[in-house]
Amino acid sequence: MKKLLNNWIVQVLLFLSLLGLTAYGSQMINDIIPPYFLMIAFFIGINLIMALGLNLITGVTGQLSLGHAAFMSIGAYSSAIATVNYDLPFLLGVLIGGLIASVFGVIIGFPTLRLTGDYLAIATLGFAEIVRVQFTNMKITNGAIGFLGIEGSTTFPIVMTIAVLTICLMVWLENSRNGRAMLAIREDEVASSAVGINTTLYKIQAFAIGAFCAGVGGALFAHTTTFIQPTDFGFQKSVDILSIVVLGGLGSIPGTIIGAIVLTAAPEILRPLSNYRMIVYGLLLVVIMIFRPYGLMGGVNLRQALRRAMMFPKKKQAGREE
């Protein structure tokens, strides 16, 4: 049985059926839940895809980025241009959105590599503002008025399937040689290069993949709302995505999932408080940080906890020997 599970073809089949199941399941959900909740679920999925990208940059590789919304906007606009101006199919548009965002991720990656910590944060923030101003002044994006007439091609199964796919890819990445190198960079750059890690390469990889996710999220967003304008992608948006990652627990994929659900739903759940909801949202961020400064899932290593639980008897023995 175990041997069978280790077979690559079997794993691919399992993976494909997981995706199929997701698509099927979300189609069913799509048919039964009220449109309002469906909309929330849409945005949870989209935010999750983008947050997983930022989690790779900030949570795993430790590069604080305050400009994720810029990659999102690049994905949103380029996919919209692809489907509206060039009549390309929707999914191709999404791919193009991701790729172009990713190219910008690499371009931003290069110079910002010389910067660390807060300097990097402010540089990415500056980049995001420049991108936003640029979109406000471009003809093809229809400037500040906004890009109209995008087809609402995004469907719930598509969002969910891409979200699950992203989760899987991220889990795999984190458990690979590349992922370990990225984690090492977060922990200590000097020690990383001393063991032979080309820190530049992996930082750029993280930016490229993270930006790709943001671009895909942006493309899905554009084809959900059917109308985008530069103000959709301001600093506030970058902060929203960052809060998801930090609140969930930096570097933790389950944390990011929880963060995406909580923070996307929170403003909606707080809607009965309508006038007070943003006030409460702000307070919520402060309170969560004070009581769980490493995020909701911070310091909780699921895999390790699981492994621990299973190895318990052996562990105890080892402890007694000392």
Binding site: D118, A123, G126, V239, L285, M289, P293
Partner: protein
């Protein structure tokens, strides 16, 4: 020489705008220098200052200096309270949690203001007659004189305070090495509180000045102003007080210059473009000392 005159004119305009940025930037820089944290809520403290000034000006028909002092005092208290409640518990955790907490505070303050005062832009009552002086071919308004004057005065007193007072010395000691300062008997908590009070007070004063200058106050005005001021702080070399002043002036001047050369749509991008260039070519900023990497 019209070009020269025009340049002088823009210089004056840029100086006034830059003074406002510089005042906010000082808060960023002081807090960063001491606890190494970006206080993202500064923009909102600035906004609060503007509203405090507005309310004071409306209720009592007080003169500009009373409004200025009152707003400064209110934001000082606000700054200290914010530090106590939202940052102090996080002092030993990661930088990012403090950052998110600060962002939470900034959401809280701006949406609170929307709730209390409404989302619309409000005009500022005329606290005193604006007059225009003509010097040669260029003009300077009383408002500009007041702004540049008040900002200059505040910065000078801050400089004197930090350089010569006992508290100022304690602050500089904390910026160098908190643990050592603490061992020498410096009360770190107090120093941090004072830092927040001063920084927030300056931002509050800047808020009133901005309200008067632009005749507009709005709950979300803090965001962009805060970001630009932060850019100014980094540009000048974060942690450096003279750096923040220079950074603020440079950002103000370029913004005005951008408008002059007919690129006003891009004026908000200028601050950040300069910032990125400086970061890439002189990462420590104009006045910052180069950090020496020791292994």
């Amino acid at each position: 020489m019209p070009i020269l005159n025009n340049l002088m004119q823009q210089l004056v305009n840029g100086l006034a705008l830059g003074s406002i940025y510089a005042l906010i930037a000082l808060g960023y820089t002081m807090v960063y220098g001491i606890i190494g944290m970006i206080n993202f809520a500064y923009g909102e403290i600035f906004m609060f200052g503007a509203y405090a000034g507005l309310v004071l000006a409306l209720t009592n028909y007080v003169n500009v200096y009373v409004a200025l002092l009152g707003a400064t005092f209110i934001t000082m208290v606000l700054g200290v309270v914010i530090e106590r409640v939202a940052y102090r518990p996080l002092r030993r955790s990661s930088r990012l949690s403090a950052l998110i907490s600060a962002i939470g505070v900034s959401f809280f303050l701006s949406s609170l203001m929307v709730r209390v005062k409404g989302p619309n832009t409000r005009g500022f009552p005329t606290l005193f007659e604006n007059r225009i002086f003509e010097i040669g071919d260029f003009q300077i308004t009383i408002y500009q004189i007041v702004i540049i004057g008040v900002a200059g005065l505040l910065m000078l007193s801050l400089h004197l305070f930090v350089t010569y007072s006992k508290m100022g010395r304690a602050m500089r000691a904390c910026a160098q090495d908190q643990d050592a300062a603490s061992l020498m008997g410096v009360n770190i908590d107090r120093v941090i509180s004072v830092t927040f009070a001063i920084g927030s007070g300056l931002a509050g004063a800047a808020g009133v000045l901005a309200g008067i200058y632009f005749n507009a106050v709005q709950p979300y005005m803090g965001l962009l102003a805060g970001l630009k001021a932060f850019a100014a702080a980094v540009l000048g070399g974060i942690g450096s007080i003279p750096g923040a002043m220079i950074g603020g002036l440079v950002i103000g001047l370029t913004e005005i210059l951008g408008v002059t050369v007919n690129l006003s749509e891009y004026k908000d991008a200028f601050a950040f473009a300069i910032l990125i260039l400086v970061l890439l070519f002189k990462p420590s900023g104009i006045m910052g000392r180069k950090a020496n990497k020791k292994v």
